[in-house]
């Protein structure tokens, strides 16, 4: 019975799982395949191989969606946003854990409590205040600012859980040796936070790179400022009848993240698990 199980069922199981994975990822293969074709070829048969591998679609989409410009915008927002969320939250969480003043305690609970508020319950007044009242919207710097506002509570929450497990004696020793608190934080505490920092970097990069609703509300239609998802979608809006051109645009938008994933796959998966369970 066991031999039967091993020799017959196992290969079937392998085959079933790999076939399922291929089917699961087939939308990506379809985009890859069709982005090299002409519209006529695509309509004739979406599953055929391209008659010739033409890069025309890529060249055209690259220019029409201002790829370099929006790629740079996405990069700036993602890098600056992630860097600031992570650094500011780590410092704040450290202070909250080590100095339990009444204010710090209450503010920590307020931050944790706001984590349950859906973004939709904040976006309307946000646009009202920063757009209607203060006229600050329309550039990526204010987008970074609002992203920090939305990102810090989760990061502070996760850091403070982690910092509690670090013995305070280490920090006291550094203070006695003549460090001021800022030096002590960056030389002694910061290196110890590496695991959780990696987790938070991964979660925030994926969020900021792919986010759509907050950037649309903040950036509006000033196309010089658009991030990649926004410019891809507005490109789709104006070229929606040019199917293979859209496919090329989609492929170009997806590629940077997928390349990153191929290199950092282990860290990303571990980071996501950490982020969800903590």
């Amino acid at each position: 019975m066991n031999i039967l199980l091993n020799n017959v069922l196992k290969p079937i199981k392998y085959f079933a799982i790999y076939a399922l994975l291929l089917l699961f990822l087939s939308p990506f293969f379809m985009v890859l395949l069709n982005s090299f074709k002409t519209d006529a070829e695509f309509i004739a048969n979406p599953l055929s191989l391209p008659a010739q591998f033409s890069l025309n679609n890529f060249v055209e989409a690259f220019q029409a969606m201002h790829f370099v410009n929006s790629f740079m915008n996405s990069l700036i927002v993602t890098v600056a946003g992630t860097f600031l969320i992570v650094t500011l939250s780590a410092m704040t969480a450290h202070r909250f854990v080590r100095h339990k003043s009444k204010f710090n305690k209450i503010f920590f609970y307020v931050m944790v409590a706001t984590m349950i508020i859906p973004f939709q319950a904040i976006m309307i007044p946000l646009v009202g205040i920063y757009g209607g009242k203060l006229h600050l919207l329309g550039n990526k710097w204010i987008l970074i600012y609002t992203c920090i506002g939305f990102g810090v509570s989760q990061a502070v929450f996760m850091y403070s859980g982690f910092i509690k497990s670090i013995p305070a004696e280490l920090e006291e020793a550094a203070l006695i040796d003549g460090c001021n608190r800022v030096q002590m934080f960056f030389f002694v505490v910061w290196p110890l936070l590496k695991t959780i920092t990696v987790t938070l970097i991964i979660m925030n990069v994926l969020w900021l790179w792919n986010d759509y609703l907050l950037p649309t509300l903040v950036l509006g239609s000033s196309f010089k400022q658009l991030t990649l998802p926004l410019s891809t979608f507005s490109f789709y809006g104006s070229y929606s009848a040019d199917y293979t051109l859209i496919m090329a645009a989609l492929l170009m938008t997806m590629t940077p993240v997928i390349i990153m994933y191929i290199f950092l796959q282990r860290h990303i998966i571990a980071g996501i698990v950490n982020g969800a369970i903590k």
């Binding site: 799982i17 599953l47 859906p118 939709q120 309307i124 369970i277």
Partner: protein, 310 residues
């Protein structure tokens, strides 16, 4: 080290060393460490939330200088808005099916991947890929698939289910949305379940085998009870995400055809930013907040009761 601190303390006659300087120092440090975070967080989240509650009692359009107080009018308008309620019912259907199907598939996939399988890391990594790409891009991608790949495929194979494009069909648009959401969230949930499976002690499973339990009995009596924490996390994440879905709704179906797939977040966006009714939009958003809070808290506390001690 503690002794040195203690000595310094005693040396100062029982007072904190240099108390007045310490306090000033402490305030500056408080400012450096928490100032930027507290300022940005308060000005973005807290201020908006409070201003949002105020907005629900006004008729502001988001631009003009005039804003008048209308009392409970917005809330009454929300209560009697049949379009909102049908959108809410659609959202509940969407959340129910997405959460159930995605979690069931993710769980069994995780189960299949943790029972010794060569290359299971690669497979796991593969199933996670849709999570790397934002909802807006996914929606565009699947819109093309439903319209231009599945329809010709259905014609060719003579499968009536695909012969009409799901995204343009009133009965199927919601199912198109559910399909894409399940496809996207499954990989994410799966890796949490895999971590849960890994944490089940091998000895317990071996003891089960010795006692004559087969695979299904072990799954039901040993693995599932020990994995309640994973279920709690996954159900929480997928339920909250389901109620808040917007991106894929916009790019896949844009709420159509004829509002047949207009979920609550999309509806709120339309009220506030398309119909320029900030007050009513915010009242709807607060309703969503209330629903998300009640549903997720009830779900989590019910599930917590099922947890077992090891």
């Amino acid at each position: 080290m503690t002794i040195r601190l203690l000595l310094a303390f005693i040396g100062n006659g029982g007072r904190c060393p240099m108390k007045s300087k310490f306090n000033k120092d402490s305030f500056i440090n408080q400012l450096i460490f928490t100032g930027p975070t507290i300022f940005i967080f308060s000005s973005v989240v807290l201020l908006s939330f409070v201003f949002g509650v105020y907005l629900t009692f006004t008729n502001w359009d988001g631009i003009s200088a005039s804003m008048s107080f209308v009392g409970m009018e917005n809330y009454l308008a929300v209560m009697s808005d049949s379009k909102l309620w049908s959108s809410l019912i659609l959202t509940i259907q969407y959340v129910f099916f997405t959460v159930t199907i995605a979690n069931a598939l993710a769980f069994f996939l995780a189960y299949a991947l943790t029972t010794k399988l060569k290359g299971s890391n690669l497979v796991r990594a593969g199933f996670f890929i849709p999570n790397l790409i934002g909802g807006i891009i996914m929606g565009v991608l699947w819109n093309m698939i439903f319209n231009y790949v599945l329809v010709p495929f259905g014609m060719q194979m003579n499968w009536p289910i695909f012969q009409v494009s799901w995204v343009n069909d009133e009965k199927m648009a919601l199912w198109a949305l559910i399909t894409v959401s399940v496809w996207q969230s499954m990989g994410y949930l799966m890796i949490i379940y895999v971590a849960g499976f890994m944490s089940v002690p091998k000895e317990l499973l071996e003891a089960g085998s010795v006692d004559g339990a087969n695979g299904f009995v072990k799954l039901k009596k040993i693995i599932m009870p020990l994995m309640v924490p994973s279920f709690v996390i996954c159900l929480f994440i997928s339920t909250k995400g389901g109620f808040m879905v917007y991106d894929v709704n916009k790019s896949l179906t844009a709420g159509g055809p004829y509002n047949s797939s207009e979920l609550i977040s999309y509806h709120i966006y339309q009220t506030a930013f398309m119909r320029q009714d900030f007050g009513k939009g915010q009242a709807e958003a607060l309703l969503l907040f209330l629903i998300v809070m009640v549903v997720t808290l009830t779900q989590t506390s019910l599930m917590k009761k099922m947890e077992v001690e090891m």
